[in-house]
């Protein structure tokens, strides 16, 4: 497991008042709780900060996966336009759910999740984030149940009405197909995102296979080591010793190969998977943008339509006019709000894309770096091991 260093972290010994503001979070110590079907993994979330919005310098809370999910969903709901940092996959094949590997990878991914939120200028200041980091377990449980419960917030009802309303206008105005935003730049972006996901998924698949091959080679080397030792023992005298050494080297290299397989899994394959998840998060934002666009477009159309009618009504039926005018003003306000929401998402997405490009270049560069390091070290270890045994073999053949 990597022990990540945070670039914002300060030495804990430096005085908080004089030091630059910092927020350090780590997710560690996965522990299995409960039994049977009810069992789950709990994680320790340790927050160290000198920011005034937080309750004190250090806080430790226990969280489970669904708590992280709660945070993710809350942020996704409230901050449309922002690429919410992705979570590791929810479900796993039952028998792997508690495997050491799976738990460690999930822990690493969850740690990355909270730290990405902590380094996002807007997300790190949210109330939900603070609740997640600081609330005691009871409060957290309540918050989580409230969200998933059958009682929806009033704003949800309002949204449902609005959706129905826009569907009605579609029919009234004779539009059945949803309208889509289609500027050339946005089209290009959409194509880029969709194609990027395909490329990355393929790369990740090959990376996963490579991990497997390393394990298989490791197993072969172990088997070979055993066999050569037995062969040497069968021969006896000087041969036995040198063959035994060759066998031991082989077994030692087998262990190194298993370690390199783990290294590849955590520091190469997982980052690629994370990259895929990030792209999927962008796709989710694109869905939000499409919805916002539709709302803006539909309400705008409706407003224009009603505006024309209103003009007619002014002359034909002055009584009804004042009533209708009030309705119209409400509609106009809604339309303007919808337009603002849409434009906000567009603007935020621009910034988010710039951050994404920068972040991903760094992330993938690091993944390549780790890969090259690991492979170079492995190759060197293999060469050294065999070269060390060669002189003994040479000595054997001359005797």
């Amino acid at each position: 497991m990597i022990s990540a260093e945070r670039s914002q972290s300060q030495s804990p010994r430096s005085p908080a008042a004089a030091g630059a503001p910092f927020l350090t979070i780590s997710v560690t110590d996965p522990v299995k709780m409960g039994t049977g079907v009810q069992s789950y993994i709990s994680y320790r979330v340790i927050t160290k900060t000198n920011l005034p919005e937080f309750e004190g310098q250090e806080k430790i809370v226990i969280r489970r996966y669904s708590d992280f999910e709660w945070l993710h969903d809350r942020l996704a709901e409230k901050y449309k336009g922002i690429f919410i940092p992705p979570l590791p996959e929810k479900n796993a094949v039952e028998k792997f759910r508690f495997s050491k590997e799976f738990i460690e990878m999930r822990c690493q991914a969850l740690d990355l999740f909270v730290n990405r939120i902590a380094s996002h200028p807007e997300l790190k200041q949210t109330e939900d984030f603070r609740i997640f980091l600081q609330a005691d377990e009871e409060k957290m449980d309540r918050a989580r149940s409230y969200e998933t419960g059958i009682f929806k917030k009033p704003s949800d009802f309002l949204q449902m009405f609005k959706d129905v309303q826009s569907k009605v206008s579609d029919v009234v105005l004779g539009k059945e197909k949803p309208v889509e935003e289609s500027t050339p730049e946005y089209e290009k972006l959409k194509n880029y995102i969709f194609e990027l996901e395909n490329h990355l998924a393929e790369a990740q698949k090959q990376a996963f296979r490579l991990v497997k091959r390393h394990r298989e080679l490791g197993q072969s080397l172990a088997d070979f080591g055993k066999a050569i030792k037995l062969l040497g023992a069968c021969e006896g005298d000087s041969l036995e010793k040198v063959f035994s050494e060759v066998g031991s080297k082989s077994e030692m290299l087998s262990v190194k190969l298993q370690r390199e397989a783990d290294n590849l899994l955590f520091h190469f394959e997982e980052p690629l998977k994370d990259y895929v998840r990030s792209v999927q998060s962008i796709k989710a934002t694109m869905v939000d943008r499409a919805n916002a666009f539709r709302q803006h477009f539909d309400l705008d159309q409706e407003r224009k339509y009603k505006e024309l009618n209103l003009e007619k009504l002014k002359f034909m039926n002055p009584e009804k006019f004042s009533e209708t005018e009030v309705e119209f003003r409400e509609l106009k306000a809604d339309s303007e709000e919808a337009t603002k929401r849409f434009e906000h998402i567009v603007a935020v997405m621009e910034e988010e894309l710039a951050r994404f490009q920068e972040q991903k270049t760094a992330d993938i560069g690091l993944a390549f770096h780790e890969f090259a390091k690991g492979q170079a070290k492995l190759a060197k270890d293999i060469a050294d091991a065999w070269r060390s045994v060669l002189p003994k073999l040479e000595a054997c053949s001359t005797s």
């Binding site: 790369a203 490579l210 560069g365």
Partner: protein, 284 residues
Amino acid sequence: MTPRESPRSNPVLSTATFTAVTAPTAPAKAGRDFWGMFKDLMRTFANGWVGVREEEIDANFLAHKDKLEDFEQHLTATSLQVEALLKAYDDLTATTAHLGIAFIKPAKFEKDQNTCSFQTKRAVDINNFANAVVEVTRSQIKQNAEFGKHLGAIYEYLETMTSVHNAFTDRSNALLHERSRYQKIEELKVTIRATEDAKSHTLKEYELIKENNMNAIRRFNKEKHQGLVEMLKRFVRNQAERATFPRKVSHSTCTAPWLVAINLTRPSGPIGIDRLSPTLCSLE
């Protein structure tokens, strides 16, 4: 395949029943028909040893025979493991090649997008990585081919084993002279024919044969010893050479493409989330 009559009564008959076995030739593609060849050889041994069992009372000879069987067993097992090892290397190389290819397309894809400097840098990084992987794959393919050739050494061994077995089966002077292994096989055929023609065994001749056999065994063991060491040396050298590549970077003899890749992808500047492992490789 066991003889119907007891060979004790008619040594001549027992000799005639077992014909010389021709040494199996190394298959054109190393390792492909290996298992089939082994099965033939083991069958031959099983048949041959059954024939001599009743006659042979020379304890020394029997001890060596047992040792030889043991050796055959372990050599078989080792050879199978070597084959499995070669396959594992082949599979690893194939998957590495696929990995390299999987990054070539995204490299071009990102380059064509060309929306910002980060994207351009990323495209370059991906391209360098893909190239390094492809270069490593090419080298691995060469190494694997070399490895496959070294399996041939094991086949040479088996040829020798079979010819020795034939000599023991007929109890004649199989390994009288120091020559190349191929020549020994030829002489074997001659000797067997001579024995068949003679068809008379006096006790004196029997003792002479026994003495010659022991000499042959001693010589064979010495050769076997040397051959085994030679075989293992070749294997180990091949393994050691896996890490060396044709030099492109002047200061490094080992793992050159990876060191180039390491330097090119070294993270520069502040990263939002620093994931650098605190344990740095001593290679750098």
